[in-house]
Point group: C2
Chain length 451, copies 2
């Protein structure tokens, strides 16, 4: 019997995170202050983030040691399995070998706790009492709630109001882990009150929720803010995914020719891809494919420009692929991929031609997820279905050319809290969305003219 | 860093199931024909079950080989982790060592696929084209749907109508795996039509759904019926849980003093307990604690009598602990524990004094689940929360007596599809139920008088 899953033992959880900045052929552009357009320093960030996370944001060290307390929590679900998708291979009649790194076994069900646990730990170490953050459908908020619960930190999550009301299950998950969850806009912050004064029925947005969470962290000396993607320290923490996968591919006696992931803010893809990207930079022939929705085609149709991380222009300016901070993507079910920007590190990878993008329709991704569930048994998150669809496209190419390539993708999360979306898909009432050209053009026209 | 999880490699999936019947100190009472009250033979069961499963139902062989094709599907999630509940131990300040066998990582989220996969395989081998079954909230139906999808069998699930309408997520799960799901009572069977003729608005029950699923299997030559608990062959398949746990406890250098599980029909508990029970029968001092809801106290308040497996008296008569087939338990959230009877093998274990029962309140179990989620990070199914509560009771006893006991329980499934129940618990609107004495007395009075 061939081995379906390649498992590592508990002692093989990585002891250090890998920092892609150390190997980038070009330095990352500085982050700019939103008021002065000048590069910001650590002091500007101290009211918002824990000191150690600020240091990790800019470090050029290749390896950053993982504290034992973080590895002990990782041990709840890590090392995660690397799985050979034999059922999918058979179904596709492809000569390709398809592997996926299964990040769905964490208690909240995705890769997000890889960084949530680290962020909670460093804040706890610094004596911070509570963490604030925003969440859309709840993947990030539930992961931070989980992490805070284990490190005995208070957790306050501003959840986009429409999700708070329509998707109560991840809210219950956060509350079970002891987090306080507020529908945003709320009357708890100045930002929220201002929005409600204008529109008491406002359904909220991720941009508004960021404003509320940052405001509370800045005004409360015992609190800090946390972000679940985009930033360098988040990509750093996610590198455990790729480091484990590297070891597991070796155990399988194989090596990936194509490394695939879905991309919203960039963290699950960076987590898998960056440890392999250093081999590409060192000369190894590996392709890197980042899959995004056509409804929110940041890499395929965005520009590499300085832009704000949030809709309300509160965050520093970062150089990244962006559709413009005022761009509002259509309501696809892969909520985690509905972001106007892209991690600056992933953006630079694209700019340098190291990573290629593919933009996919919602329905073809759900179809890929259905095929995956029927052949591999596991139900993917709608976000993850984009990675699966991209892997299937590569596997079909192999069938057509006869090439026996090795395809590796990140299975970033399960879809057990997304079954309502599958219900829509199965009943044939799921909408497709193509590139929203005019909206993108309008939003990019609003971008600040910098460097 | 001590090892949080004890993992086995893919090659360590058991190669044979363990059959408790081989080691029982007393033979199991025969199953009787519901018309004649005479012992039934294999021929009586052939229209309903696959031949190999009928053979496994009565075999006295100690070990039954697991087919490679079944082990290959098991490899999607097996071997499952054995986890040391260090967070829970710390919270309880107990000198006890608490371990749990984590069966929540199967794609449907529970132990049920351990038998669903085996049943689908033997039916496929026999040339059966489709399987029928009933399901309440959907745990069993989704597991059979998953298994049928991988063995390319049609699957038809009669789902209790009130669950079909109010709990659509597990229905979507089954449909995504390609199963046909019908609300029961339906107009597809004679049994369903008769019920609907009397009460067109009937919300359905598990008993009615069994009637429909059995009727369809009997009338369709290409179909067979499957059951997810109670029967001996189901307990046999579930023994992989305990066999793996046995090996993992050895690797941990430990040995359980108490083995705990929640009990509905008995299969998850038998799966963990039976492989350890053979050591008890051989003289080793181990306690066995089966946790049930006070709302449905089959072992604590039932009688050891011949009774029907279903409400509508269609099934053979089996000797078991029962509250009476007409007993309708209060609407607790642990739907999988709302069964009037008990696996005859587990029942005999209780009768012989090998297994002791504990009956728990719903709210104390949710409170235990909340503590577990906060300290171990994982959200339990409401059924599983009964095992956790029973383990906590034992751990607190150890704190009080200073005894350093080793407690092992089965974490039978996660609660990610049960967050609505947690929402009720967190909002304080969860009802408690004590022993329904009068209803039990009335139902037991209706039992047939046999041997």
């Amino acid at each position: 019997m061939s081995l379906k899953r390649i498992l590592l033992s508990g002692s093989e959880i990585p002891t250090a995170w890998y920092n892609f900045q150390a190997d980038l052929p070009e330095a990352m552009p500085p982050v700019l202050h939103p008021g002065t357009n000048e590069p910001i320093g650590p002091d500007d960030l101290r009211p918002i983030f824990a000191d150690e996370l600020i240091a990790q944001e800019v470090t050029q060290e290749r390896w950053v040691e993982i504290p034992d307390a973080v590895r002990e929590v990782y041990a709840i679900w890590r090392p995660s399995p690397l799985v050979r998708a034999t059922g999918l291979e058979r179904e596709l009649k492809t000569p390709a070998r398809i592997y996926f790194k299964d990040e769905s076994h964490s208690p909240p069900g995705s890769h997000k706790p890889n960084t949530a646990v680290a962020q909670a730990y460093y804040n706890k170490q610094q004596g911070v009492k509570r963490l604030t953050t925003e969440t859309g459908a709840g993947q990030w908020g539930s992961s931070l709630g989980f992490a805070c619960s284990l490190f005995d930190l208070e957790c306050k999550v501003y959840m986009v109001k429409v999700s708070y009301e329509q998707k109560p299950y991840r809210r219950s998950m956060m509350q079970l882990w002891g987090a306080t969850v507020l529908p945003s806009p709320s009357d708890q912050t100045e930002a929220g009150r201002q929005i409600l004064a204008v529109d008491p029925e406002c359904p909220g947005s991720l941009g508004m929720a960021i404003s509320e969470a940052v405001e509370e962290a800045v005004q409360d000396e015992e609190a800090k803010y946390t972000l679940g993607s985009v930033l360098n320290h988040v990509m750093l923490h996610q590198s455990v995914v790729g480091l484990e996968a590297e070891k597991q591919m070796e155990l399988a006696g194989d090596s990936p020719d194509v490394v695939i992931g879905c991309v919203g803010g960039g963290s699950n893809y960076a987590g898998l891809a960056f440890p392999f990207l250093r081999h590409r930079i060192a000369g190894k022939e590996i392709r890197f494919v980042a899959a995004e929705p056509r409804a929110c085609p940041t890499m395929s149709r965005g520009e590499y420009r300085y832009d704000f991380g949030d809709t309300t222009k509160l965050t520093p300016l970062i150089k990244m692929y962006t559709l413009g901070h005022s761009f509002v993507p259509p309501g696809i079910h892969a909520g985690g991929l509905r972001y106007h920007g892209m991690a600056p590190s992933v953006s630079l990878g694209i700019k340098l031609g190291l990573i290629e993008a593919v933009a996919l329709h919602q329905v073809e991704c759900f179809e890929a997820a259905r095929m995956f569930a029927a052949t591999e048994g596991i139900i993917p998150a709608p976000e993850t279905s984009h990675a699966i669809r991209a892997a299937i496209i590569e596997a079909i190419k192999c069938r057509e050319t006869g090439q026996e390539k090795c395809i590796l993708f990140n299975f970033s999360g399960h879809g057990l809290c997304d079954l309502a979306a599958y219900d829509k898909y199965l009943s044939g009432s799921l909408d497709d969305f193509d590139y929203p050209q005019q909206k993108i053009q309008d939003a990019i026209a609003e971008l600040p003219e910098i460097g």
